[in-house]
Subunit: 290 residues, 2 copies
């Protein structure tokens, strides 16, 4: 019998992402045992009952000392404090990784909090829909054919990066790499900004006295446009704050685009509107999510 | 055998909406014969082959003279010209209706173009997804359980309004009424603005050299947010121009909302962002499209 990829994996935050990562590794026989930590004892009890984790962690220092892999799957805003808590106890062989949706800020925190263990941190971001959340939503196939971006650090050993890559490949994911800055710029455009825009529209409606009437006439276009406005406010607050610079830059570009459209409308410039719509339609109609 | 609701219906624009309306009436045995007019001869030939229409109209004046119902299912920008062309020929018993997504502008055109026949025009708007288009996409059940808004005019006879209502009920739709102005304000918020916003984001990406890279990392949130950016540019140009005032007012409110979010981000005001997201999430998570 061949050795498993990991003997022991410790997951902080056994929700949709952390729980699905654990389930997928277990299903692939890539891990011997999984230990879970989290803010809610009840969630951890459920996770154990559901076979997501083998045991509920009690003592952080003891558990991370002999772990092969520590996965941080909490909202990004909690990662700094978490890193500070585990840094002194990480064994020399322990790789630490994360599943945060922003990377520059997480790397900055890791640099500040992990000290001499910084090189053991291999940042990662699995691109999997997170409108649902919680351990109950975890599935072993969540990452099947999904993209995972690693943003390796110059300080990482090739072996550490390779082990994190193989972990995600065992989960069925397709792994690519870029720098933390590239990552944050890309996701500001295709993920963080759309979430902000969707929240903004629904918030705008939520403020109005006639919101129920308005919603009663909303159709499938509205339903899809606003689906992501049901995402976790805490998670998205952290993502927006964590990717503030890139997101602000994109938001300013977008507001300028809306101001141009507003001016075209005001001027009755139907031609400019149609050209804008046509350029968007051409790109969007030619794209499908793989 | 009971008489059918309509002996003869003439449809201008045998696309998704006009074609589905014809199919649904035929399936409900609510019409004896359907005549189709359109810009593309080939589409009309297809529509006849598909059993959507009984015959391809040749002579507008002859066909509308003895029709019970004339349905205008073209982009709203073409309706004025169309009305001008048919007005002199409409029989005294002929009801004219439309399926346009804006109502104030269409009513204004009807007033200008239909002259003494204005009272025969009963404006309507079926709320059915129109990302697909064309006669090939027409389905007899497109309007099943969908909402249709009538915006009757003070000049309409009760009988005319009732016949249009019954036509849509035969298609399986749920009919409600409001004024043209109310209609346009409601749909500026829940439909027209989201389309503009979705087009704006994709247009913004289409302008960039790295658009393919960006799209390669887009996930399901982006897919759903931008689905409506694949809608017909011509149709949405007309809708935006036709509902310019209400849409401009909503766009300005939305830009102000984005400027507030931008200021909160810039100030690092995580609390304000979270409150905004939470208010949106609460409303959106409690709503489902019926």
């Amino acid at each position: 019998m061949t050795a498993k990829l990991f003997n022991k994996v410790v997951v902080f935050g056994v929700g949709l992402i952390g729980g699905s990562f654990a389930l997928a590794l277990r299903k692939a026989h890539a891990v011997e045992s999984v230990v879970g930590f989290g803010r809610s004892k009840q969630t951890l009890v459920h996770a154990k009952q559901l076979g997501i984790i083998d045991s509920i962690g009690e003592d952080v220092s003891a558990e991370v000392a002999d772990a092969d892999l520590v996965m941080l799957a909490t909202p990004v805003g909690q990662m700094g404090e978490l890193m500070a808590g585990i840094a002194p106890h990480l064994g020399p062989q322990t790789i630490i990784t994360d599943a945060g949706s922003t990377k520059v800020e997480v790397v900055r925190e890791a640099y500040a909090q992990l000290g001499s263990k910084f090189a053991q941190f291999v940042p990662a971001h699995p691109i999997a829909g997170a409108e649902q959340s919680g351990a109950m939503a975890a599935r072993s196939d969540l990452f099947q054919w999904k993209k995972v971006v690693l943003t390796p650090l110059p300080e990482n050993s090739a072996v550490s990066v390779d082990r994190v890559r193989r972990a995600w490949e065992q989960c069925g994911a397709m792994v690519s790499t870029m720098t933390p800055t590239q990552h944050d710029e890309v996701f500001a455009v295709v993920s963080h900004l759309p979430h902000l825009l969707s929240y903004a529209l629904v918030h705008d409606i939520a403020q109005r006295d006639n919101r129920d009437l308005l919603l009663s006439f909303a159709a499938s276009g509205f339903r899809d446009f606003t689906r992501i406005a049901a995402s976790s406010p805490e998670m998205w607050r952290d993502i927006c704050m964590g990717n503030r610079d890139a997101l602000l830059a994109e938001l300013k570009i977008y507001i300028a685009e809306l101001n141009r459209m507003s001016a075209a409308l005001e001027a009755g410039d139907a031609e400019q509107l149609e050209q804008t719509f046509l350029s968007a339609r051409t790109l969007r109609a030619g794209w499908t999510l793989k």
